[in-house]
């Protein structure tokens, strides 16, 4: 069996499962945020149960409109906060100590290798980087799971992605996943588990692994997953507050497809509007003048991403008129970026440094585009109107390219600065 099949089988109390089978799994964590929790709470309340299945296994995170952008958002968050208090939810996060859900949950050790997790947010697939089965669901699924502690799944077929060779200069996990989506399309892995492996993945830092699994949904994937190797276990161990049992794919596991790519041929990637699959190598981008650069999000808001951006921005100024918005992924990352001098580097370069929020990624606030404006962003989606007006454009890239482009005022790589 694949790691995904094994995770679902174990959580369903079965010795074996096969793709296509319907199973009901015990959950290790149920997540919702300030946009999806209100509807989940409504679904939970409709069931008429006295209490949540386990107050330690629910995470509620205010991050999308945080700090609340308007009165309605404030009311939504207030509802979630009130629910968290009255149900004594252990893991409620907002403002101080909080941050973007998919960054803080792994950082705080709330998701561990071997877990089965659902979240009312499509990028819940991020935690596959830890060797967990984790997938996005809607609010009703999350609300019902808060009562029952379980969820049904159709066991997905798995697709294996093997990356050989070595990554070139300025090429990151973000570039690998944009390249991958470019090759298979935004529905290339629809309903399937994407298993990322090979020497390139093994050599990648955890931050890049989270970025890759984060975007499995952009290829239609049900989940993304990476084998929990020693590097993952070393990362998790100091964070874990409970026991965990990692699982691994069998050598003879069956895959619906296997893709093998040599990373030596992969340049930094830029995904053109209005689909993540429109990935092009940086050398084929041409002259794209931009108004804004956003560096952050659950895709690339980790400390390593900020370090990459600072490496490029140090000693430079952003282009005249450029809005370069840096968004640390959590309060803790913001603190570490301040302590290590990254924040000063950004401010000296003329960037704006925001408090943690999903904000501009979904066109919520903190950097909305007008008609005709263009942004480069380390976020994960570039759909029509995603960051603002329907006549605006978002180009997706990694932190090196987003930082270099902010300096040049047009899309380019660090070597062009």
């Amino acid at each position: 069996m694949t790691i995904t099949e094994k995770l679902l089988a174990r959580a369903a109390g079965l010795d074996q499962v096969t793709p296509g089978q319907f199973v009901t799994c015990k959950l290790d964590l149920v997540l919702a945020n300030d946009i999806t929790a209100p509807l989940a709470i409504e679904a939970f309340s409709a069931l008429g149960v006295a209490e949540v299945f386990d107050r330690d296994k629910i995470a509620l995170v205010a991050d999308h409109s945080t700090p609340n952008k308007d009165i309605k958002s404030a009311m939504q968050t207030k509802l979630m906060r009130g629910f968290a208090r009255s149900n004594e939810i252990t893991h409620y996060y907002e403002a101080c100590g909080g941050g973007i859900e998919h960054i803080i949950l792994p950082d705080k050790g709330l998701v561990l290798p071997g877990d089965v997790v659902i979240g009312a947010d499509s990028h819940t697939c991020t935690y596959g980087a830890l060797g967990a089965f984790s997938t996005g669901v809607g609010s009703t699924d999350a609300g019902v799971a808060m009562a029952l502690g379980e969820c049904w799944f159709r066991v997905p077929e798995s697709i294996k992605f093997v990356y050989s060779g070595r990554l070139g200069k300025w090429v990151t996990g973000k570039d690998l996943i944009l390249y991958t989506i470019g090759r298979i399309g935004v529905d290339g892995a629809r309903y399937r588990a994407m298993e990322f492996c090979g020497p390139v993945i093994e050599a990648l830092p955890m931050a890049d692994r989270f970025t890759i699994c984060n975007m499995a949904i952009e290829a239609g994937g049900k989940s993304g997953i990476i084998d929990p190797d020693q590097k993952a276990l070393d990362w998790v161990s100091p964070r874990a507050h409970r026991r965990f049992e990692p699982l691994h794919s069998d050598p003879d596991a069956e895959y619906a497809q296997v893709h093998e790519w040599n990373a030596e041929n992969i340049e930094p990637q830029v995904s053109f509007p209005h689909l993540p699959e429109n990935a092009r190598p940086l050398s084929e981008v041409g002259e794209i003048v931009i108004d804004q650069s956003v560096i952050g999000a659950c895709t690339n808001g980790r400390l390593e991403d900020l370090q990459a951006a600072a490496e490029v921005l140090k000693g430079h100024k952003v282009a005249p008129g450029m809005r370069c918005i840096i968004i640390p992924g959590s309060h803790q990352i913001h603190l570490e970026a301040t302590r290590s001098g990254l924040v000063e580097t950004f401010l000296q370069a003329g960037c704006l440094v925001s408090t943690p929020t999903c904000g501009p990624c979904l066109g919520g606030h903190m950097g909305i585009l007008a008609a005709g404006e263009r942004a480069i962003a380390t976020t994960n989606r570039n759909f029509v109107g995603r960051m603002g007006h329907t006549d605006s454009e978002v180009y997706l890239a990694g932190p090196y390219v987003a930082a270099a482009s902010a300096i040049a005022g047009k899309i380019c790589g660090p070597d062009d600065i």
């Binding site: 946009i35 999806t36 308007d70 947010d121 809607g138 009703t140 019902v144 029509v384 109107g385």
Partner: protein
């Protein structure tokens, strides 16, 4: 249950951001959400649609964000059914969970044009294009997906489980 209405046709990869833009996600009120349904892909949709109408689209309908606000907006805009070549999986789940009928059929999706009158029989598994005089079959739901629809959505199914 028989469904009959005018088709509103869209292409591939209709994402949940265009179905209900995130700038309206500061509420969970179905009527407010419905008032902005499809706004970023078709500004005429709300004025043109009549109760009972049907949305028809190509592949990967509902891709992107997990927002259940998307099927809620569609349902409360009076749409009786969505027919698509394929659905993105979270949207598919959400639609079943909240009781929005959806039909996955590449043939039906390709065989219906914007403005066609369409009749759907969910039990019989047929889509009839009354304008063009054509008919398409579709496979019934299986497993938990079928249980969900029969129970009337996930909340009803969960309550059944809780009562046991």
């Amino acid at each position: 249950m028989s469904i009959k209405g005018t088709a509103h046709k869209y292409g591939d990869h209709v994402d949940t951001d265009v179905i209900i833009p995130a700038r309206y996600l500061n509420t969970s009120d179905p009527a407010e959400l419905a008032a902005h349904c499809m706004e970023d892909i078709d500004t005429e949709f709300l004025a043109r649609r009549k109760p009972g109408d049907i949305i028809v689209a190509g592949k990967n309908f509902g891709c992107g964000s997990s927002r259940e606000h998307a099927p809620i907006a569609i349902k409360h805009a009076g749409i009786s059914c969505v027919i698509a070549g394929t659905f993105a999986r979270i949207f598919y789940r959400n639609a079943l969970n909240i009781g929005l009928p959806i039909i996955e059929s590449e043939e039906a999706a390709a065989g219906i044009a914007d403005g066609d009158e369409v009749e759907v029989d969910l039990e019989a598994g047929t889509v009839r294009n009354l304008t063009q005089g054509t008919e398409f079959g579709f496979a019934p739901l299986v497993g938990t997906a079928q249980d969900l629809v029969q129970a009337g959505g996930l909340k009803a199914l969960a309550m059944k489980k809780l009562r046991k």
